[in-house]
Symmetry: none
Subunit: 199 residues, 4 copies
DNA sequence: GATGAATGAGTCTTCATTCAT
DNA sequence: GATGAATGAAGACTCATTCAT
């Protein structure tokens, strides 16, 4: 068997097991049983249990990163709103298609140890920071209401996280994504308040 | 020593240790060392490691519940917005005053086992459901914009969760809570969009 | 409460518990719960768990000893067979009336530790030795068939032990004792063989 | 090392240790030290301390069973008395050659817990029952004196048990077995009474 | 590369005993 | 005498990792 494939197989098996049992309740025995390999073989491809989990998690964080394109302003660029919409659609699609990854990221990747928590926290901080920068730009361009961009960025990030968790837990179908994206956009752009009350 | 006090002492010590090291990396030795008691003493007050963690978590969920008052509509009631504001203030205050609890709830309570995850998920589902009901009422009363109350409730819940995590991680002071509440309220009520663009 | 009574109460409770759960599965908690006393009180009357068990066992061995009268030969003495019969009757009666003691002696007193095993072994050795001496006398007096008195004594001892265990386990009534004694005597005196085959 | 051999080695070591220290005073440390293996290795071959003990005990009960052949009556069969003699010889030989097993069965297997006691009791009950059936047959065939076969069967069983315990404790040699068998047979068949007194 | 038997550090939990009140 | 909270030594069991084949 090609080295690359064997490794991928083990990773795939591990994603399934980790997502179901979490990091601590998953034993090496679980992993090799699912992957159909011998105990020693596991250690040919991964240094230890922690490393394979990190590997899965890093892959996932990369994939998420790929889903998010910085919003570009310019004549030749699509409408900023459409760019935002496309980002949301890509992220939600990623998780609806891989609900196991959602469990790993949102449930099991947390609280493993200081180092891992730091990595996750940093990832969210970075994400929030990107949102914050976009908000500052939007404010400067008079597209966005005056607000504290820091706090607001966390509101946006939290909305997205929670909706991801909800749609994977409630096993939403990919066909529902567009409507969900619009709903999230609607909340983020217009808030709750009935606009008739505003005028 | 009074039985009640001893138990409280152990709980307090456990909150500190669990919040720093997480559930799995905390050993009974850590707990009794922090509490300054003998190994056997621990088991006089708690059945096992899991039970003391659950105990902490259940207490916390109860406390959160106490922070949230259902919004009442009526002539003698305060303005609904003020009731909402008060709810947010109470919750943020709880966590700013007990940042350890935030770590336990948001980091370490997750991914312990199926049963525990279920409890947490249920807590959030319930919370989301209460928000959803409030949204439906608001829509009927024409206070709230037409929207999908289910998805929107998760946006709101997520905003709050993420802001809690942010303000505890960034060690925000209690004096900043009012401003933060206003910011979260602003986002939730009006969204991002510059209102001048709406007219 | 009088010191003597308190001690007796604890002993009585302990006999019940030990006989049901055995030595190792009986905890001090079991003993004090059954006796209705506090933990510390137990140690006012007994040095430790082992000592109360030994105490019960020693009492029992003494009681057994009291049941057995050396068979005396003489004009004024009852028929030796009747003396033997009386010994058996007293022993069987003791255990039928106190089936708990039978469990303690035959089940739970064994295998506790080297010292205790030694004591039990010695008790049986002594018992066997007394039987052996009686057999030697019987042989000299031509009452008893020529045989190896050592081995035979263990046969007799074993018969009695096993019958005790059987009659306590099968909850025989005291009214059946006479018949059982005759049966054991019959076996011991005449063996199995149909006497008609002997002539 | 072959899996079978390793298991056997551990069993052999465990028999020695259990027979010397008994079940409760034997720790896993004792077992692995004697077997010369690591702690984890023990648990590769046995589920827990209790299981290895049960394993030893069940093997032994099986071996005892194999020693005992039901006495067959028929023209082509050996003399029933010789069949009986052969049974006794096999059993005594088993224990004289493995005095450790005698200690385990007669001392340490008893009083472990309800379940184990039940198993042992049942084994003895079954054994007694087989003897009882043989006695009934003997009585019908006029080979055996009229008697209560139940009680008498326990006398016989007890004689054998006690002699086994005696000959293993007194470290009797295998060369003495024949004489001991004759002595036990003599007691069982003819009893104590000097036959001259009977005529 | 692949295997799986062997390893042993690490942890939870129990429970007999003590002693201050 | 009586109490029962506190103690801590002891022991069973797990499981990630190694390494000889």
């Amino acid at each position: 068997m090609l080295k690359k494939n064997r490794r991928e197989e083990i990773l795939t098996a591990a994603i399934t097991v980790f997502s179901q049992k979490g990091y601590h309740d998953t034993s090496i025995s679980d992993l090799i049983e699912k992957a159909g390999i011998a105990r020693g073989t596991f250690y040919l491809y991964f240094e230890n249990k922690r490393q394979i989990f990190d590997s899965i998690l890093n892959n996932l964080l990369l994939e998420i990163d790929h889903c998010i394109k910085t919003i570009e302003i310019g004549a030749e660029q699509p409408n900023p709103l459409d760019q935002l919409r496309a980002n949301l659609t890509r992220i939600f699609t990623l998780f609806v298609e891989n609900p196991e990854l959602s469990k790993i990221l949102l449930r099991h990747a947390t609280g493993l140890d200081e180092e891992s928590d730091q990595k996750i926290t940093e990832f969210y901080s970075n994400s929030a920071y990107k949102i914050e920068e976009a908000l500052r730009l939007g404010i400067r361009m008079n597209l966005v209401r005056e607000c504290d961009p820091r706090i607001t960025s966390y509101c946006i990030l939290g909305s997205i996280r929670e909706v991801i968790e909800h749609i994977t837990l409630s096993r939403r179908d990919i066909s529902e994504i567009d409507a969900i994206v619009e709903e999230v956009l609607g909340f983020g752009l217009y808030g709750l308040m009935n606009p008739k009350l505003l005028s």
